[in-house]
């Protein structure tokens, strides 16, 4: 099963994503900010990171940039409530592979993952 790291400061959203993903994926970590996301990625090298943007300490775009710089083959899907075009462009620039806006439903999450990490 593909390994997934969930980075979101909202426990509610981490729970929701875990419920959606755990049937077909192995959740290797759940973190609350961008610093923890980078550290956990480097430690566990999961197949995919589901990355929120608005997080304390370091936001998800900065964290994505750092992960992609250290491992260009990393797969990162932004999973965020932010629906701003400029932010989406920043995410592309940081190397994000996909972008899902909250609120979402399971099919749209699975579709985005399939695009980035085909089964």
């Amino acid at each position: 099963m593909p390994e997934v790291l969930i980075a979101d400061d909202s426990e509610f959203m981490r729970n929701l994503l875990r419920e959606i993903l755990e049937e077909d994926h192995q959740i290797v970590g759940e973190v609350e900010n961008g610093v923890e996301a980078v550290e956990t990625y480097k430690e566990k090298r999961p197949d995919l990171v589901m990355m929120d943007i608005v997080m304390p300490i370091r936001d998800g775009i900065e964290a994505t940039d750092e992960i992609k710089n250290s491992d260009p083959s990393a797969n990162v899907i932004m999973c965020t409530s932010v629906g701003q075009e400029e932010k989406m462009k920043e995410a592309v620039k940081a190397g994000a592979d996909g972008y899902i806006t909250k609120p979402f439903q399971k099919p749209s999450v699975m579709e985005a993952i399939e695009d980035v990490v085909p089964s």
Partner: protein
């Protein structure tokens, strides 16, 4: 056509002093002590005027006025308030006809003082019609919009007056015709430096309404509760009056600070029952325990986050910029206690503030949500300067399109 901040401050002060004059007249006639709590100028869709009157029963008086300013003024008391007032005025039980006559006379004296202040400031005369007695429930007590004008934006001056010893309120609404007021505002503008184009303020208000609709759609998607955006308005009031806008009820919700153009604070607030209902609708399993549990609060925090984004993303997309916001901070307190520190922070830079208020609700369960934004004046002016009216519909962005480029 532009309106400068100084004019808005002056006009707000005029309306406030007029309301104080009217209140003093009432106190003199009835012996009832009352204070003018809040006076604000709102730019609002004509059909939405008076939505805050809810479902209470009101009586009052209406005047038409003509001159350099033209329009309608309405003074409304809730029915209990009017009965106490008539009792104080007439010293005991009175016939219905006498009570009506009393309301008309009090209204006439109060509103003459209100309108005279405007005439003096403008250096002109403003004639008003004899008072017409009105009664009705909620916003229906206010005069209907002229046919075809329901969707037009108008400036409304609203004063909320509180009796000192009783939890009773009454309101003065001044509904000037748009063009004469805009002309007067332009003529009395002191400076071009801080002028705001009125058409852009209207467009910004429309963008805000679309943001409210997006936030309501997000609530529907997360909870399955069909939610509708109700009202969206931009108001202008002294910073010291801002906390009074939210009221003393206890709210649960989120506060974020947003940075960029515009910048400021945003609150998503639910009354306690609504918060519990909406949080439970978001959860896959039934929650045990009384009141708001940690699980409820987590759900509210995330919902507030998503609603905030839905609200501000449209501004960013139309302005072709980004508006960052902090992670949501959960709040559970009296409305005034929540907004007070935010107003104090904004007030370090300005004496008056624009307040953006939106509400949404549903018929399915008891649920009502309020969104209040408190932008920094300087950044809001910059945002309006940069706003291209022809881009006003470009509130949405499609990630698939951007990621395919």
């Amino acid at each position: 056509m532009k309106v400068d901040i100084q004019s808005l401050e002056t006009f707000n002060q005029l309306a406030h002093e007029g309301a104080e004059q009217a209140t003093a007249s009432m106190t003199q006639m009835t012996g009832i002590d009352a204070i003018v709590d809040v006076t604000k100028i709102s730019l609002v869709n004509r059909a939405d005027v008076g939505e805050e009157l809810d479902t209470q029963e009101f009586v009052g008086v209406q005047f038409d006025y003509t001159g350099e300013l033209a329009g309608e003024t309405v003074l409304v008391f809730d029915r209990d308030c009017s009965e106490s007032m008539i009792e104080a005025l007439l010293g005991g039980a009175s016939s219905e006809e006498m009570a009506r006559s009393g309301v008309k006379e009090i209204g006439n004296i109060m509103m003459s003082g209100f309108i005279d202040g405007w005439a003096d400031y403008l250096g002109t005369t403003i004639d008003h019609s004899p008072p017409t007695y009105i009664e009705g429930v909620g916003p229906d007590v206010l005069p209907d919009a002229p046919e075809g004008d329901e969707d037009d934006h108008i400036f409304v001056f609203k004063s909320q007056i509180e009796w000192m010893d009783e939890s009773l309120e009454f309101y003065i609404y001044m509904l000037p015709e748009y063009e004469p007021l805009a002309d007067v505002m332009s003529e009395h503008a002191d400076t071009e430096d801080d002028a705001i184009p009125i058409d852009k303020l209207e467009v910004f208000n429309e963008m805000t309404m679309r943001g409210t609709e997006t936030a309501a759609e997000n609530v529907t998607m997360m909870t399955g509760i069909e939610t509708e955006a109700e009202v969206s308005q931009i108001s202008f009031a002294p910073i010291t009056d801002v906390p009074k806008q939210v009221g003393n009820e206890t709210y649960v919700g989120t506060v974020v600070e947003f940075t960029g153009v515009p910048s400021g604070f945003m609150m998503v607030l639910f009354d306690e029952t609504s918060a519990k209902n909406v949080a439970e609708a978001m959860m896959p399993v039934e929650v045990e325990g009384e009141g708001l549990t940690e699980q409820h609060k987590m759900a509210i925090e995330e919902l507030g986050n998503i609603m905030t984004s839905g609200f501000v993303d449209g501004w960013a997309n139309v302005l072709q910029t980004s508006v960052d916001h902090t992670p949501p901070r959960l709040v559970h307190d009296m409305g005034r206690a929540i907004i007070d520190p935010l107003a104090a922070q904004v007030g370090q830079q300005q004496e008056h503030a624009f307040i953006i208020d939106s509400t949404m609700q549903t018929d399915d369960i008891e649920f009502e949500a309020e969104i209040h934004a408190l932008p920094n004046e300087q950044q809001l002016r910059e945002a309006l300067d940069e706003l291209m009216v022809e881009r006003a519909d470009e509130t949405d962005a499609d990630p698939e399109e951007i990621f395919q480029k």
